[in-house]
Symmetry: C2
Subunit: 481 residues, 2 copies
């Protein structure tokens, strides 16, 4: 979309409350995060969207490295004969696979899957690399594209091809593998909450919702403004399932040959979709400063024939460049109010306005994206006030999100309250639960909701809020993306 | 491969001079850069190889950003109907394409190509984004996987799937596009020579060797130890070919509607293969410090029951951690000499040996990977000496490579000298040339060599060294990878 077209459209998005789905799509497009690609269900991640993704990626990546993981790269294509070795895994993924059947002008003798996830091909390699207990643990991550042939798609939330990271580890004991799964789940929680400012609930997935081939799946779930839950990261105990399917075994200290215990964990660009939906408002995107490509945009308010404002704006840009990620919007073909709208749409945390009166008074006017508040700040205080204000934005965004989550989470003790809450309430319903798949399917049929995570054990003597049988756990239920 | 197996094999690679091809493969495997994948023609980039690739990527990426480019991500799959729009382009790439024909359990109505390069899909998007001259230039790069269905493959140098970056830009004038092509070619030269220490020759490709669909292709070419040239980066003037095929047009300042001028430029992990081959020796890999994951490895020489050496090694590790990329090899199951061999195989620029006598004397012994020189350095001087030594290694590696290149480049004036040089000489042959494709094909038939780059105009009155017709240019010829 050219700038001329955007100019007319910049203000015409629907209110977020009125039509969240359309609001979301329009913000993704008009903030220039993505565009639709000329191939079904795929998006182009545009430079501004990619810059946010790079910042998110770096936040995760440094924590992966700090916890002892290394990056690697495994092939895109997985021969069908490898993919089918773990029965539950292939059953879960086969319906969503894209197959390469021709290459170099010839029909292939075996179909090759574009990876929907890489347990299979990585399992084969780990089997080759592991012989002794001294070769363990293996702690590897990869940042790659994967493909799942989905029917309906939405930018970031569900696309045929998506960018993600997938960690794959192998350990000599079940306990060590379980610790790894929790360690990475906690890394996910930390980045989601501390960096992206998405409050999440952590817990274990039910049998019905767990990863195909896993012993146990753990997840972080964030609440979206329509009360639906968004699974924002998963961490799987794979038991010895994949080690047995791909023959990852080792000689232990006791000289016995044993199968390894493996894990996998992944976060995709879906979490960026969650961030957009959770924090945005009727004016567009609201970015947490930690992942804003521009934390500050300087918009000079120009008067024809007066060069002092642009000169002051350039000085400002120079003096802030080492302090924050700052952009000077020095375009002359657009008016200042138009630029205000555009940078609000694109979610820049702080806007610095500088006009002739500001120059004369030795100050700038700072507009906060999150609260729309305007503050006059003397130039001399700027390099100290801006980091303070960015901290305040980063804090305020989280406080709002936590308040929303807390006011949209209810407990339900009876079947009536449980069903009523899931049908009418936008948000999480916490309840004692029997943990049976049959019960979960009944809940889904009646309310469209499923369990999102199991957060702990049930109280002694508690009964399932839905079916009345003895409760095993406490779980959060919600409709979901 | 487990450590136990490697232990036996670490010394058994062939001499580099005796069998370069086998030496290369063995170094790639035993330095743990790559492993063969269970899918034909593909490799796994292991953590150590990936760490080198990340350093190389960051060196390029910061220069791309400094020259005004932004990263983005375009889809992996390109519908056949889009790929075929630029006739020369599809003719060049179609034979190497891998096709997706099934997805989500159904046969697709149109074949989807796994990108062999992304001009087609990016062209479609640029057509949508560009309307006015104010929308230009577009300066975008992406770091992605691509696929070309090659018959024979070798790690890094030629693989079905490979990692690379591809820059794609659109401009309002031919001159601006031509400047962009040269700017990026110079970025490639700079990283190749200053960082990776690969001396290259820069120039234009002949008609026969240029990119499918380009007006002109420019390249950097490095000389390998067997005298073959390795194309290490290319930068293409695409003229208005792709703009016309994909309808990238804009209203210029003069209100006329014009087609844009586009460029593309790419470097792949092939340049890492060039680095391995150019600098390695009979002991294995030799890494330039600038892209060495560990610039320094500390190997304590342990004596049973004596804890002082390990303690001193840990102190050393701590004190160097902020200064250089340093690794402490504190494994107790391997001997010091075994570790020396392993870290030489893996190309670490400096090895710090510390034993009981070193501890007593308040010094360490530093072994340079490039020269095998050993130097005793007092502990107090370490933090200043190590950066100096790393600089010296970085310099020495380049001096050797330049000397090799210069002593393996000859001029040829006559057909006899030209043919003789190409047949017997390992290296570049520089000659006056007519620039005709027929002549190039004849040269190839007789000598197996082709022109690598055209470096300038021919002298007045010069004749083609091969066919005797009037010479147009001066070119470098060589056999190539």
């Amino acid at each position: 979309m050219s700038k001329d077209v955007e100019k007319k459209e910049v203000k015409s998005i629907p209110a977020k409350d009125a039509d969240l789905s359309e609001w979301y799509t329009q913000v993704c497009l008009r903030a220039q995060l993505v565009d639709y690609a000329p191939v079904r269900g795929c998006i182009v991640l545009r430079p501004y969207g990619h810059a946010i993704w790079e910042l998110i990626r770096d936040e995760f990546d440094k924590r992966f490295k700090a916890t002892g993981h290394q990056n690697a790269y495994f092939p895109l294509l997985i021969p069908e004969s490898l993919l089918v070795r773990e029965a539950e895994h292939v059953e879960g993924f086969a319906p969503e696979v894209a197959w390469v059947t021709e290459g170099g002008g010839e029909k292939l003798t075996e179909r090759l899957a574009i990876r929907p996830t890489s347990e299979a091909i990585i399992g084969v390699m780990y089997a080759r690399w592991v012989q002794s207990h001294r070769d363990l643990p293996i702690l590897i991550n990869q940042w790659v594209n994967v493909m799942r042939w989905e029917k309906s798609t939405r930018p970031f939330l569900r696309t045929l091809e998506f960018l993600w990271q997938e960690g794959h580890t192998a350990h000599s004991t079940e306990i060590e593998a379980a610790e790894e799964v929790q360690r990475m789940l906690e890394v996910y929680r930390e980045v989601a909450e501390d960096v992206l400012r998405l409050p999440v609930i952590k817990g274990r997935k039910s049998e019905h919702e767990k990863f195909a081939g896993a012993s146990a799946t753990y997840a972080i779930e964030a609440l979206m403004p329509d009360g639906k839950a968004l699974q924002a990261g998963t961490s799987h105990e794979l038991g010895q399932h994949f080690a047995k399917a791909y023959d990852i075994k080792f000689t232990d200290v006791d000289e016995q040959i044993k199968f390894a215990w493996t894990t996998s964990w992944g976060v995709s660009w879906r979490i960026l979709g969650g961030l957009i939906m959770a924090h945005g408002d009727d004016r567009g995107l609201v970015l947490p400063p930690a992942v804003a490509p521009y934390q500050v945009v300087i918009v000079p308010i120009l008067r024809k024939g007066d060069e002092t404002v642009m000169a002051a704006a350039r000085d400002l840009h120079k003096s802030l460049s080492g302090v924050v990620r700052v952009h000077l919007d020095d375009r002359v073909e657009q008016t200042a109010p138009w630029k205000f709208n555009e940078w609000e749409m694109r979610g820049v945390p702080l806007r610095l306005e500088i006009g002739p009166r500001d120059v004369a008074a030795g100050q700038v006017t700072i507009a906060r994206r999150d609260t729309q508040e305007k503050i006059a700040v003397p130039l001399a205080e700027l390099t100290s006030r801006i980091p303070e204000l960015l901290d305040a934005v980063q804090r305020t965004i989280y406080e709002r999100a936590v308040e929303y989550r807390d006011t949209h989470t209810v407990n339900a003790d009876t079947r009536e309250a449980f069903v009523e809450a899931l049908k009418s309430q936008r948000g999480f319903v916490q309840a004692a639960w029997c943990e049976r798949t049959d019960c979960e399917l009944d809940i889904k049929a009646e309310t469209s909701a499923v369990s999102r995570v199991i957060s702990g054990s049930a109280a002694d003597g508690a009964t399932c809020a839905f079916c009345g049988r003895p409760a095993k756990v406490t779980a959060y239920f919600a409709r979901s993306y």
